[in-house]
């Protein structure tokens, strides 16, 4: 089934809650009203002829200008070999959307990742905890306005230019080596009596050589 046909089915079932297929360049997508997302997903999975049984990816995109966070679903049907991109928008100030865990189990971990990195609250999720970052991390890094907190428990997230650091280290080492050499020379001069002048050495003769 082509994407257009899937869209037509969605339109007849959900009316205005599902938009038409987008006209953007690249991949096209359908925007769904966020309160209908579970119904739409279940409809896509269970309807004969559609059977989107394989959830390839769920992710999110932050749009501060439009004041929304888009949750993006890439779904596919291994039975009929067709795919679709669904999007649902949620308010950026208080992002919250129902979980589709009951439709695809794959959503459990994918939604946890979005919760962690975007701060979207998935209502009814069975295990909504941070997944990649520590539990006491402040903020949601993939949001566009995320400010780094300047470190985590004393571990800084800034460092000097490594080249500057390296040149400082080599300078110090060079100075230390020079100082050590000078000190050794002074010590040697103080401890040892002056060496006699070089003894003249007889020119080496090669015994095998027959002149």
């Amino acid at each position: 089934m082509t994407q257009e046909e899937v869209c037509t089915q969605l339109k007849t079932q959900f009316g205005d809650a599902a938009s038409a297929l987008s006209e953007t360049k690249g991949d096209r997508f359908v925007v769904v009203k966020d309160e209908k997302i579970v119904d739409v997903c279940r409809f896509l999975k269970t309807t004969t002829g559609l059977e989107f049984d394989y959830c390839q990816d769920i992710t999110a995109v932050d749009w501060p200008a439009r004041k929304v966070i888009e949750v993006v679903y890439h779904v596919y049907s291994l039975v009929h070999r067709h795919g679709l991109v669904l999007k649902a928008e949620t308010d950026r100030e208080k992002p919250s959307i129902a979980t589709v865990e009951s439709v695809w189990k794959a959503a459990t971990w994918l939604e946890r990742e979005i919760y962690d990195l975007f701060g979207v609250n998935f209502e009814g999720h069975s295990d909504l905890r941070r997944i990649l970052l520590p539990d006491d991390w402040v903020g949601h890094p993939l949001r566009k306005d995320y400010q780094e907190a300047g470190g985590y428990h004393g571990i800084g997230n800034e460092r000097q230019d490594p080249l500057v650091q390296l040149s400082k280290v080599t300078d110090e080492r060079r100075k230390a080596v020079a100082a050590a050499v000078a000190a050794a020379a002074v010590a040697a001069a103080a401890a040892a009596p002056p060496e006699p002048a070089t003894v003249p050495v007889a020119p080496a003769t090669d015994p095998e050589r027959k002149s």
């Binding site: 990816d57 890439h74 291994l78 695809w104 189990k105 971990w109 990742e113």
Partner: protein, 385 residues
């Protein structure tokens, strides 16, 4: 006699249920976890009540970095997503950006990508099956596997100058053409490989102890595999005949003739650890077939399409999918018309595989958990990105 009885009681204590439950941190530093992953495991003696993976130790924010560097500059970062099969991480990113820009790599570049990718798949699968044998308790196969992998690393080093983090693909092509005389060396290695796989099968695949340790362990049914979004060999091990190379073709793959091995439950049930293992061994043979065909049909021509120096794709979004060694690798790129990605998402096979471990862990033995982790072939940096 008394000692025997004590032993019996001891064994009973360890295998039958009692009230002595403890929580073990299996990881983050453990030889069997394949990287820095922690499995918080609640056990009752040898029997696991449940095991919850705790990930994120290797999170480097690679998706955030993708929003901060220009498109071509992100290529070396993709190597770090999956260091055991970096060719696919390169290729997936290149494919995604090419789709966004609407350019296509020239045929020769596509063939070279297929050759490099399949060699990389063989090298990755050797690590996977070798470490799996080692986790189970067989030490020798890993040394054999590493030896074979070194030969491939030598070949890839000659091709692109690096052994692990290749940075070989470019948006619209590849960085270097094949070196002089390289194809002959590859063919010589493949001749060796084809006979070596038979030796490998005699060495470990059909080894009775090995089969007993894996057959009927960690069974993932077809439905469950699809529901949890597993990908690649893990999905095919459960009997799902699905491969991006054939079903959503990209690059030069439509030109090649190859089979897609699926799990059959030969020694146990479809979707057990042995099936997933065997799919990987068979895939090495198929990869060898693909490389041979690609070298035989390698077209002449450019290796790089004409691409602007400063890439500014139109606003829009695109998905690049490749069949990585660990299954479908999906790059989702959103562009706002500037020279940096507005959003870059990497979906990896390992992440999805980690999601199913808790479900599989109920009521299994500790040693079986190790077999399951090894059979799913999870790689920590790919999970955490």
């Amino acid at each position: 006699m008394a000692i025997d009885m004590q032993l019996d009681r001891h064994i009973l204590r360890r295998t039958e249920s009692s009230d002595e439950e403890i929580v073990v941190n299996f990881g983050p530093q453990h030889p069997s976890t394949h990287g820095v992953i922690n499995f918080v495991t609640q056990t009752n003696g040898e029997v696991i009540r449940r095991s919850v993976p705790d990930i994120g130790y290797l999170h480097r924010g690679l998706e955030k970095i993708g929003e901060q560097v220009p498109y071509p500059g992100y290529m070396p970062f993709t190597d770090r997503i999956d260091y055991l099969a970096a060719m696919f991480a390169n290729e997936g990113y290149a494919v995604a950006i090419e789709r966004l820009l609407g350019v296509e790599a020239p045929p020769r570049a596509k063939y070279i990508r297929a050759i490099a990718g399949e060699l990389c798949r063989i090298s990755n699968h050797f690590i996977s099956v070798g470490t799996m044998a080692q986790d189970i308790g067989a030490a020798t196969p890993l040394t054999h596997a590493l030896r074979e992998r070194e030969s491939i690393n030598d070949l890839l080093e000659e091709l692109c100058g690096a052994r692990l983090t290749f940075n070989y693909h470019r948006i619209g092509g590849v960085a270097f053409d094949l070196p002089e005389g390289w194809a002959v060396k590859v063919l010589r290695f493949l001749d060796h490989l084809d006979s070596y796989i038979q030796e490998w099968d005699r060495l470990i695949t059909f080894n009775k102890i090995f089969v007993k340790r894996l057959a009927n362990v960690g069974i993932i049914t077809r439905e469950k595999a699809i529901d949890y979004g597993l990908a690649g060999p893990n999905l095919r091990g459960s009997g799902v005949n699905w491969d991006i190379r054939r079903d959503m073709p990209y690059g030069a793959y439509p030109d090649f003739d190859f089979d897609i091995p699926v799990g059959t439950g030969r020694f146990g049930t479809v979707g057990d650890c042995w099936d997933r293992y065997f799919v990987r061994v068979r895939e090495m043979v198929e990869s060898s077939k693909i490389v041979r065909q690609a070298l035989a049909k390698l077209p002449e021509g450019d290796i790089q399409a004409k691409v602007a120096r400063k890439l500014k794709p139109d606003a829009g979004e695109a998905v690049g999918r490749v069949e990585s060694a660990r299954g479908e690798m999906l790059y989702y790129v959103v562009s706002d018309g500037s020279e940096k990605a507005y959003r870059l998402r990497v979906r990896t096979g390992s992440f999805m595989a980690m999601g199913i471990i808790e479900e599989l862990s109920h009521g299994i033995m500790v040693a079986d958990l190790i077999a399951i982790i090894a059979s799913l072939d999870v790689v920590a940096p790919e999970v955490d990105r």
